[in-house]
Every structure is written in structure tokens, then in C-alpha cells.
Amino acid sequence: MAASACPAPDRPTTTRDPFAPIHAARLAEPAVSELIELTAAEAAAKLRAREIDAGELFEAYRERAAGNDLNAFTWVADSAPETAPDSPLGGVPLAVKDLFCTEGVPSQAGSRILEGYRPPYTATVVANVTRAGATLLGKTNQDEFAMGSSNENSAYGPVLNPWDRARVPGGSSGGSAAAVAAGLAPWAFGTDTGGSIRQPAALCGIVGIKPTYGVCSRWGMIAFASSLDQAGPFSRNVTDGALLLSHMVGHDRRDSTSISLPEPVTLPTAQDLKGIRIGVPEELLGGDGDGMGVEPGVRESFEATLRVAEGLGATVATCRLPHAPHALSAYYLIAPAEASANLARYDGVRYGLRVGGDQTLETMYSRTREEGFGPEVKRRIMLGTYALSSGYYDAYYGTALKVRTKISEDFRAAFGEFDFIVTPTSPWTAFELGAKTDDPLAMYLNDFCTVPMSLAGIPAISIPSGLSEGLPVGFQLAGPALSENRLIDAAYALEQAIGFDGRRARV
């Protein structure tokens, strides 16, 4: 893309005599736009080599983040924190989804009920990457308590998609996805419960990784559905995603469901896919069954990517996941059920909003929750409470847990024959703001291709595969539990062959 498409950097420019001698050191100093164009891995390397300055890099991003018109951030740092240039990440700034607790910094999870809440402690994954040298640039907007697929459920307003500001960035980690796509941050944290990293990554033309359940500690992550919630990175490319993930993972004694990967996350190097067997589940691509149709432009990009994979030496064949079409139903019982229990803590007693007045304890609870929660959160609490209530527990929640077993078994069987399973990440590209807000069920269908992996707890990655009518399309690869390194390697080989150019969104 022509450099002339980029506006002048947001810096005061001075008129200078073109014949005046230029000091050699000034010549070597990169301009702001050059700093922004560095990938996170490149920036980290240059910081460690003292070729760029951490303070200048932070300020370049800070200005962009603070001045953005996408509503991607709910809080932006005032100034660069102290950094250790010899640390692995050397001071590369990081945007963090608002639901990660950050000590002394607003952590509101997109909800009115936590407005102004500044936690007294920091989430483990944030502490892990900070120790590795990442600096906190800002907190990103999100759907309230991560419930949504368009970022229109935030109490702090919707986020706009940088590819087309009339469209949604996806959700629930919409602020993080939009920030990375628009070059307001080099990379970001998101969380994925049913697709909340992968779907916005797809709709914004960037890379999103949902790791195996448990490899990132959930300690300090404001909970939605605890058996599904998992943190992961957003990045411009696969290498950056691997680099950030490598510093996030690890068992944490404060999260007894956390686990260790068998080996460290390594940076990808694969140039081909020789000997790799790729399965395409017909149940997730069919036009019938659950009534889910993949948009023609998305299907075209998906099929073109399968040909790219074959060109790299992979074999591609149809596979079966018989219960996958039921994953969405199981998910929309299990996740709300867990949410209804997790969100019981917002009762106006220990933190956050309290609606006071002359009343009893119970009316204080009810009125606080009535005013503090938005419509989608109320819907999920109601759905979850209903699914767990006496007389309906076995029929709904109990049945959903059995379907979850069948979905895991389907994947286990498929991975006996295939190394990876691939789908379009989202059935469609970014849709217009307001297009699905009146129909909760239509909104839930966004997650059709991403929830099966969430229920099975397996890792999946979304990479951009191309454009359809000017909007990015995401390609999802999923692998067996703990296969992160192989999955990232395969995604990298595809990424190199596809050559997607996301620079237009950074204008």
C-alpha cells in the first residue's frame, strides 16, 4: 500500500531549511510512523539493542490511543512507566482488556456496576508480562462482562471497526481487536469464553489466539464462565502472538485449574505444511442443519486458504464432528449458568455500585443489580438462573453438560485422523452497528464455529485469510489440547503464504 495513504504523523512539524546540515544522529532516529509500523517482536529487539527509545515508543502509541476515534480504550496511561531495557520485551506497550484487574487502574469490565473500580491487585497474566518488560498502555473497551459478539453491550459505548467505522469490531474483546488493527497498540490481551478473541480478531483482520483451557491463569480476570474463560493475545502477526503468549502462560498456585504447557511457547519457523492432515468439519460449513449459512465471500476466502494449505504440502479432507451443531445450544446454557453464579458477587456490598435509600437488604441487592447491569447481562443471568433452577436443572444444564462430553469425544476422534481442524472463524464479516442488537439469538449465532473448541477446552487461532468486499475474513485452526506450538507453526506457514496486508486499518 502506498505510504502516501497515511496521514502525516500527529506531531508538530517545524519548517526547516532543506540545505541545512542534518546531524547524523537525528537521521538515524526513526519517525513516529516507522515506530508504529514495527511489529512487537521487532520493537522488542530494537529496544534491547538500544536502537529505539522505550519512552518514545510508548508516547507514539499513547498519543494514538488517547486520540483514537474508535472508542477502543476506556483508560489510557498518562505517561510511560519505568522499563527495564534488558528484559525480554524491553518496554513494548500493551493494551489490556478491561476485565483484567490492574492495581490502582480502573477495571470496569465494560459494566456500570464496576464504574470507577480500581482493584487492589493485578491479574497474574498481566503481572507475568509486565515482569517480562511489557508496559501497560491502556485498558480496552469490551462487551459488559464479556457477554457479546459486537462490543455493543458495553456500558461505555460501542467500539468502531477501523476497516469501516459504520461496522462493529466483533466482541467481546472488541476494543483490544480494534486497537491492534488500527495501530493504537502493538498488541493486546483479550479473553475468549466462546469466541471473544477469535471472532473480533477475524472481523478486524488480525491474529487472535485462544490457548488450551488452563495454560493462562485466570487469577485476577473478572469471571464470566469459569470453566470456559481463557486469556490470550491479539497481534498483527502470528510471531507476535506467540511471543506474547510465551510470557503469559504458566501454572499459578492461585488458580488451581491452571496447568503448565509441556514445553515453552516458541516462535514459529515452519515454511511449509508437508505431511500435515487438515480436517474440514462438514457440520460447521453446511448451509442446512442448524440453519447456519456461511457468507459467500467468507466461504470463497476459506476455500482459497485450503488451496494455499495444499500448495504448502498439507492434505485437506472432510471430517465429522457430529455434535458440533449442538455446541451453541450447550454453550448458551452452560455459560449463562456459570455467569449467573459468578455475577452474584455484584450485590452492592463490597465494591462497585450501590443503589441506596430507605430500604431492606434484599431490595438494595435487586435495585443495585437492576441499575448496574445492562440488558444482555440481565438476559444471561435470567437464562442461567432458569437453567439451574429446581425442576429444570436436569433438562437444561444437565443435558448441556452431556453434550459437552460428546463434543469433546468428537474432537478426540477427529484428531486421531487429522492434525488440525479448520473452519471460517466467523460465518460473516463485520456487520453494521445495530444490525443484530434486536435479536439476541441472531447475535449468538456469531459463535457457531468458535464455541465447539471452547467447550472442548482445546486451542485455536484465527488468522486473516483475505478480504471480502473490503472487509477482513478470519480462518480458524484448532488443534488438540496443549498443541500450541504446532498450531502456531502451521498458522505461521499459512500466514507467510497468504501475505495478508492489514496496513489500511492503521491509517
Partner: protein, 99 residues
């Protein structure tokens, strides 16, 4: 269709206040979602064990040793109405029954 009384009952269980308009809308919206998810009840799941968690973990224990926690003042700083070093709450009110 979820009836009004059911909506109010579930809202009471969740200690969730709803406006009149929300009560009406909720019945219809929840019914639409339940109609969709109802399809899983047609599956043959006889003898299938439930999965509540994707990772098999059992009995994670740690040593029962006291360790420092956050200071009381730090915790109470976030409380909407701290009273005498604790969380202040309104009166539970008179008992509903046996009165």
C-alpha cells in the same frame, strides 16, 4: 412461552430487579433462546457422563499455611458504605413469615 410469573420468580431467585418493560421483553426473548436450545434434548445421551470442566483435575490441595492478605483499609477503600471497619448493609427487614 415463559410466563410472566416464571419471569418474576427467576428474577427473584437472581435478586435482579426488572422494569415492567424488561419483564415483558424477557419472557419473549428467553423463550426464543430456549426454543433453540431445546433441540439438544432430542439427542440420545443415555449413559453419557456430564463434563463440567474441560481439564481433568482432582483434589488440588495446598499446604494449609497462613500467609499475608490485603490490609483491611485497602479492601474497605472500594466498599460503597464501610461502617466501623466492616461492610455496612441495610437492615434485612422484618421476617416475611411467622409474623
Amino acid at each position: 412461552m415463559l410466563e410472566r410469573a416464571q419471569v418474576l420468580h427467576v428474577a427473584r431467585l437472581a435478586r435482579l430487579g426488572l422494569t415492567e418493560e424488561e419483564v415483558e421483553r424477557m419472557g419473549e426473548e428467553l423463550s426464543n433462546v430456549l426454543d433453540h436450545v431445546d433441540r439438544i434434548r432430542e439427542l440420545d445421551l443415555e449413559g453419557v457422563a456430564p463434563t463440567s470442566h474441560a481439564v481433568e483435575l482432582a483434589g488440588v490441595m495446598r499446604a494449609d499455611e497462613p500467609e499475608p492478605c490485603l490490609d483491611r483499609d485497602v479492601i474497605l477503600a472500594a466498599a460503597p458504605e464501610p461502617v466501623d471497619g466492616g461492610f455496612g448493609v441495610p437492615s434485612p427487614g422484618p421476617a416475611d413469615d411467622d409474623s
